[in-house]
């Protein structure tokens, strides 16, 4: 049941300050007032809000891996968390199990430099002023119906603060695991990169397969101050019964750079449009994404780039693969406002259809209101892998399925190159397995 008591219980359990409870109740009110959007392709009416399990507290909270229960450890071992730490490949890790984090660790070196990386729940009590300053300032409570729901019942997520001038050389990572059916996961991520700093944040998600649907409605807010650099990588592989609707937004200040890199592999329905608001002169942002739409899924993806200052640049590169019975949708928005002189935005969205009954839609919106040295381009290619290309490869002895795989590897390469090697290899393997499942498309 979704009513005031859920929000109140969460707030009380976490011993939150008054302002946070007020925010939750306000958000809940807005959620009930707002209508479900009609424009998305997937059928959102199937989501049963009253049947979702909004909050499952965890009693385990540890900074020592050995203290984490065996069965939980096994899940994350598979994802490679402890291994990455052992080999000092990451600067910090947080493992979130259902609604809360059960493990968080930040490497001493970075902690000494003033980097703060911990669960947002903990940050709210240990760094209240800092959290209050930024929380919900990038993504407004009623930005959309799902963000309103999020703000009412959010739990878990992470807080990352990088002080002035600190360049974190290794990624900070977080892993999410949804355990039970009908579960809802509503983590909130707050990343603040102070002037001149730089950091790479990676999140990975997973859930086993269940009958009933689960809902993942997260919010990510990135504040990139002057001259900072934030790269946000998401590798999402939710099981086929998850509704994945996230709202990600970055406020990019003078000469700062925010890069969104994403691979959306799983879930039944996904709606992901990372958004960068280029507020400062010289602000830059890019969004590189791979979307895989296997059978029975509707995967919406895209990006929003809003240019509000001069000398701003953005790039959107979207690669989607629709398998048999899958439906991929690109939805993007590029807005170049008045005064954003000397700015450019280039969008490339390619979509390949493999297998019968594969579908794809593209809705690229552009709104250009400034003419002085502004350049905007958008190009897209959609369709099957050309018969000529397949025949050519086969004429050299390459089997059809291998030819398709080779082509797809080349197709996603420009995005894959942005993803750290270990993840890229896993990703590639996963896509390969999905492609093998496709029946021989010709003869």
């Amino acid at each position: 049941m979704l009513d005031k008591s859920v929000a109140e219980e969460i707030s009380e359990r976490k011993k939150e300050p008054e302002w946070m409870l007020k925010l939750r109740l306000n958000a809940l009110r807005r959620f009930n007032e707002m209508k479900m959007p009609e424009w998305p392709v997937p059928n959102l009416a199937e989501i049963r809000f009253d049947e979702i399990n909004y909050y499952t507290p965890q009693s385990v909270k540890s900074s020592s891996w050995e203290k984490v229960p065996e069965y939980m450890r096994a899940i994350y071992e598979k994802m490679g968390i402890p291994a990455a730490e052992r080999e000092l490949l990451v600067g910090g890790s947080i493992a979130q199990y259902q609604s809360e984090s059960i493990y968080e660790k930040i490497m001493k070196d970075w902690e000494r430099k003033g980097v703060i990386f911990m669960s947002l729940d903990r940050a709210l009590s240990e760094h209240p002023k800092l959290v209050r300053k930024y929380f919900s300032n990038a993504v407004k409570i009623d930005d959309n119906k799902f963000s309103a729901l999020h703000y009412a019942v959010w739990s878990g997520g992470s807080f990352l603060y990088v002080p002035k001038g600190v360049k974190v050389g290794v990624p900070m990572q977080i892993y999410f695991y949804m355990k039970s059916k009908n579960e809802g996961q509503f983590e909130h991520t707050l990343i603040i990169a102070d002037e001149g700093s730089s950091v790479h944040y990676i999140e990975g998600c997973s859930a086993p397969l269940y009958d009933k649907s689960s809902l993942h409605s997260a919010v990510v807010e990135v504040f990139a101050h002057n001259n900072s650099h934030v790269r946000y990588t998401t590798i999402q592989n939710w099981s086929r019964n998850v509704y994945n609707m996230n709202t990600k937004r970055a406020l990019v200040h003078d000469n700062a750079l925010v890069e969104w890199v994403g691979a959306s592999l799983g879930s039944k329905v996904s709606m992901l449009y990372p958004c960068s608001v280029l507020l400062g002169r010289g602000a830059k942002s890019s969004s590189f994404s791979i979307t895989l739409a296997p059978k029975g899924t509707v995967k919406e993806g895209g990006a929003k780039m809003i240019h509000l200052a001069s000398n701003t640049k953005s790039i959107i590169l979207s690669k989607s693969i629709s398998l048999e019975g899958g439906h991929s949708v690109y939805r993007g928005l590029v807005k170049i406002g008045k005064g954003a002189t000397n700015s450019s935005c280039n969008v490339k969205c390619d979509s390949v259809l493999i297998g019968d009954d594969a579908k794809t839609d593209t809705y690229p919106y552009s709104d250009i209101q400034e003419s002085d040295h502004v350049q905007f381009s958008h190009e897209a290619k959609t369709g099957r892998i050309s018969e000529h290309v397949l025949s050519y490869m086969r004429s050299r002895g390459i089997r059809e399925s291998d030819a398709i795989t080779m082509y797809i590897n080349g197709f996603i390469k420009p995005v894959l190159e942005q993803i750290p090697l270990e993840y890229a290899i896993e990703l590639n393997r996963f896509i390969q397995i999905e492609l093998e499942d496709v029946d021989n498309v010709e003869n």
């Binding site: 290309v389 025949s391 004429s395 050299r396 291998d402 390469k413 003869n443």
Partner: protein, 237 residues
Amino acid sequence: MLKINNLNVYIGKRHLVKDASMQINSGELHVLMGKNGSGKSTFANAIMGLPGYDVKGSILLDGEDITGMGIDARARRGLFLSFQNPVEIDEIKNSLFVRQAMKACGIAQELSEFKLSFINNLAKAGLDESFYSRSVNSGFSGGEKKKNELAQMLMLNPKYAILDEIDSGLDINSVKNAASIITSQVKKGMGVLLITHNPLISEFLNPDMVHIFSNGSIAKQGGKELIALIKGEGYDL
């Protein structure tokens, strides 16, 4: 021996190749000539098994009936086609493509050995080192695409190679070079069917047999003297 028996090729209702038969032994060079639109490329494509054609008749490669086989199966048995219009593939690097193809055809090479070998064969065909890492045929001129086909042929070392208009887009020195590559491969035992509508390349070759295609059928078969006849009187025989 590559034996083609009474090949009939249709696209829909159109009968494009009529009862064509020929026999290419190992180490033999055959030349197939004919007007544009006489069915030469259709003949070549059908032998390779490209989609879009209804084929009747039989094709035997070293005694094995390959008529119903898929394109890649035929290639793995030692058949090679140099395309008239090689397709451009932005997504895949030339080197990766050729190495995969060789693997598929059972030729395994260490990367360093492969690199040396491919760059060497590219040079033989008349292309510089940069073509090693460029995307397959992407942005290549017509002549460069043909040279790339030749380089691939040298790497895959097929038993029988069908070369569809390998001379088009090449300047006279490149034509001479292509001819000398073909001659040396034939000497090594490759069976080659060279398709061309320009008698020039034949100046530099010594074909064992010449076939003239007209309106979908093989109108005349003979020796090198047929080429001289065409040069003099054109295709209306």
